[in-house]
């Protein structure tokens, strides 16, 4: 903070644990298997009755294999968040009880427990307003998932929820990076969670932004996004803290940035200027250049405008090299997880970086020559060089965020 004497500050922020709940299942293992397979999880779903909606597909998280003991007054988004956080912490082999005040939670969510709020309102309309049970909406708040993680893990450090639509998860991870660099905390659980709900499903349909088939990012015949649900959490630590406890870093969160188009509420700036600015700033923050980037996990929603703007941003940053940088979109496989999208895509980026293999998108759709990207399609792409990766997110309201990850070997 201004005026404070920060002393020597940590410069390397490493990832030591990963956790996820996605339409491919509960855990990072099922996610990676699903990503490699390249077959989409987008299909018919039962989270709510979609029969009256214009479209009928989404990517839904399967039933939990065992109860989570969180009790009945917890939203689905909270449950997904807590499960992901517990997996990530276990993966990091970290016990927060030793120093809860040096741990923070940084979370993104667009809907919180909106699914449960809708059920409350449905009951109120059906049974009468005073009869509807308010217990149904206890955890409907947008801060629900992040708070639920902090309570479940007894965190006493900073807890911050970002609700900046589709950039929420990435911005939350960026906030964690800053807090670690400032030395406010030694460890952060950073991620996001969102569940499917009718308001976003009907809302995106009202905007005619949902594809009637599974989404086809960057394809010529792309016709919109597909919605999904899930959560992802990254355990971030200062390199010093990780080394001190003998933890082995998975990768490095090297840089972050965000910028706004200030253009339109629902349409990106066509030239992708804000997204390009966020990417350039994130690379500078990471001490890297555009030439260092080995692959991109793109926002890639499958909407005509978003994909065109994002491609324009990538061309603006990478210039003639753009067509030779492999690009994938995780949304093609698990849908758009909204406030959690940035988190799950960050996690997928780290998996690809570490395993030196870029997950594919399904083969459906024809290539769009106007896009000019080297898309990874149908089967995983081994990466000859896998040292630096970029994850991008673009959101409603013109918000853009970028994260840069590097391999742990260069930390």
């Amino acid at each position: 903070m201004p005026g404070a004497d920060p002393g020597p500050l940590p410069t390397d922020i490493v990832i030591t644990g990963l956790g996820a709940v996605t339409p491919f299942g509960w855990g990072v293992g099922p996610l990676w298997e699903g990503l490699r397979r390249g077959a989409t999880a987008i299909g018919p779903f039962s989270r709510f009755d979609a029969s009256r909606h214009r479209t009928h597909l989404a990517a839904e998280v399967p039933e939990r294999p065992s109860p989570d003991r969180l009790g009945p007054r917890v939203s689905l988004a909270d449950r997904l968040a807590v499960a992901s956080a517990r997996e990530a912490l276990g993966h990091a082999d970290l016990d927060l009880r030793r120093c809860p005040e040096r741990a923070g939670v940084f979370f993104g969510s667009s809907n919180g427990g909106m699914l449960e709020s809708e059920r409350f309102l449905e009951a109120a309309l059906r049974d009468g307003r005073r009869r509807a049970r308010t217990s149904a909406i206890v955890s409907q708040q947008l801060n629900g998932p992040g708070d639920a993680v902090a309570r479940a893990l007894r965190v006493e450090g900073p807890v911050e929820t970002v609700s900046s639509a589709c950039t929420s998860g990435a911005m939350a991870i960026g906030g964690a990076l800053r807090a670690l660099r400032r030395g406010e905390i030694d460890v952060a659980l950073a991620g996001g969670a969102d569940s499917l709900c009718q308001i976003t499903y009907a809302g995106f349909n009202a905007l005619r932004s949902v594809d009637e088939a599974a989404c086809r990012p960057f394809r010529a015949d792309r016709a919109g996004l597909s919605l999904g649900e899930g959560a992802a959490v990254l355990v971030l630590e200062t390199g010093a803290a990780a080394r001190a406890r003998g933890a082995r870093p998975i990768a490095v969160l090297a840089g972050e940035a965000s910028a706004c188009d200030a253009h339109h509420m629902t349409a990106p700036a066509p030239d992708g200027a804000g997204a390009a600015e966020a990417i350039r700033m994130a690379l500078a923050d990471a001490g890297r250049t555009a030439d260092d980037v080995d692959f991109v996990n793109a926002h890639g929603t499958g909407t005509p405008l978003n994909d065109a703007a994002e491609a324009a941003a990538l061309h603006a940053v990478f210039g003639p090299r753009t067509g030779s940088i492999p690009v994938t979109s995780t949304k093609a496989l698990i849908g758009h997880l909204l406030g959690s999208a940035g988190a799950i895509e960050a996690l997928a980026t780290v998996l690809c970086l570490v395993r030196r293999e870029l997950h594919p998108m399904p083969a459906a759709g024809t290539l769009d020559p106007a896009i000019g990207l080297d898309l990874v399609i149908a089967s995983p792409r081994p990466l000859r060089r896998s040292r630096c990766a970029l994850s991008t997110n673009l959101a409603f309201g013109g918000s853009n965020a970028a994260l840069v990850f590097t391999s742990a070997g260069r930390a």
């Binding site: 903070m1 201004p2 708070d147 309201g397």
Partner: protein, 404 residues
């Protein structure tokens, strides 16, 4: 890079009206700005709350043309008006060429449009959903509309951490400037209060109600307090690097000092916990060093009249001050209500020497807490103001504002 950051402008709209002068008058008077809320929708409990601090109908055209206002939800309108007012107050001639960040907090977002949209979906069917309602009911709509309205291309962040949100927004915005990512940051909070939201808060017993022969009123730290006055509106503060502000001849209102945040894991999802000792240690650690406890001579408290929230606030302050006398504590939420970010504007006003009256509804101290709001007598302008925000659900945030 760490630059000194100053507040140079305040914009505010709420039950007090529009502008920092109206807010200062209301805070000096100490009277709750309560008006009756529409309970005809059937959301309230029969003996429940009747009042809220609602923004009156105002002529906002100096900051927001009517044609533009019609395309915005109320939280977006409030936020854009507050932001433009703050920029005007800061005397910044043009934002062109400046990298401007927008960091806004909201507790509930655009509730009215969300209600309408859900009702359309559930009653008329999903195809009846209006795109306009959807795009305006996302939580970041207000921050985005501010960015579009003032052409702010820096970071655009919406924080949703309930009652801690405004102070967290101040801290995050200050860091954007301090660390050189923004030349200017517009920080603030916005919220609207609808009959449905008010009714739900009432049914959770979060809001004050008439009880035991006492009138309905928010009474922070009072022994008979039974809830807060729900409010609405928006406040925005312009933050700049001190050097840049002085270079352009601005007269800063306050310098942003240290900030900190923490979490009380004993909280429940919808209420405050009992972890005051731990939060107090965190607060004391923040104040240790450059802003020692002794130098804090005013506390602008987020206490609202909430039973458990105020108890936690008192325990936290007591633990931080560990037996020493607290400086005068003022409680703006007794006047302007909870939500809408007025606490931020009140903090900036306090740091620039504004007078706070005694909350007129206050009756008797709580023997458990032994904190009473300042009696309203004139005080010297403070050197350092501590601004507090403890949220239902567990989050906590604090910031120090320094007199310049």
């Amino acid at each position: 890079m760490s630059r000194a950051v100053v507040a140079t402008g305040i914009g505010t709209i709420g039950a007090h009206g529009a502008g920092r002068e109206r807010l200062a008058e209301a805070l000096a008077a100490g009277r709750p700005l309560a008006m009756e809320i529409d309970r005809s929708g059937g959301w309230h409990s029969p003996a429940g709350s009747r009042y809220a601090a609602l923004a009156p109908v105002l002529d906002l055209t100096p900051w927001l043309p009517s044609a533009q206002a019609r395309r915005l939800g109320r939280p977006s309108r409030f936020a854009l008006v507050a932001a433009r007012m703050a920029i005007e107050d800061a005397g910044i001639p043009a934002l062109d060429g400046l990298r401007v960040a927008v960091v806004l907090a909201t507790s509930f977002g655009a509730v009215a449009f969300t209600e309408k949209l859900v009702e359309q979906i559930l009653i008329e069917g999903p195809e009846a959903a209006q795109p306009f309602y959807f795009s305006e009911c996302v939580a970041n709509a207000a921050a985005a509309q501010v960015a579009i309205g003032i052409k702010a291309t820096g970071a655009n962040v919406t924080l949703t951490q309930r009652e801690a949100g405004p102070v967290l927004a101040l801290a995050r915005g200050a860091r954007e400037v301090a660390e050189g990512r923004a030349d200017v940051a517009i920080v603030g909070a916005t919220d609207e209060m609808t009959p449905l939201l008010h009714g739900l808060l009432d049914r959770f017993h979060a809001t004050a109600r008439a009880e035991d022969g006492r009138d309905e009123a928010a009474r922070p730290f009072d022994g008979g307090r039974n809830g807060f006055l729900a409010g609405e509106g928006a406040s925005a503060i312009v933050l700049e690097a001190e050097e840049a502000a002085r270079r352009r001849g601005a007269r800063p209102l306050a310098r942003v000092g240290r900030t900190a945040s923490g979490f009380d894991p004993t909280a429940t999802a919808s209420d405050w916990g009992h972890g005051g000792a731990s939060l107090g240690r965190r607060l004391a650690a923040m104040l240790d060093g450059q802003a020692p406890l002794e130098s804090i001579d005013r506390i602008v408290s987020g206490a609202s009249g909430s039973r458990r929230g105020d108890r936690l606030e008192a325990a936290t302050l007591r633990a931080a001050w560990s037996g020493r006398s607290l400086p005068p504590v003022v409680t703006p939420k007794a006047v302007i209500g909870e939500y809408g970010g007025g606490i931020l504007a009140a903090g900036a006003l306090a740091a620039s020497g504004a007078r706070f009256g005694f909350p007129t509804a206050w009756m008797a101290p709580d023997p458990e807490m032994t904190i009473s709001p300042h009696d309203g007598s004139p005080l010297d302008a403070p050197r350092r103001v501590l601004l507090t925000g403890l949220a239902a659900g567990g989050a906590a945030a604090w910031a120090v504002l320094e007199r310049i």
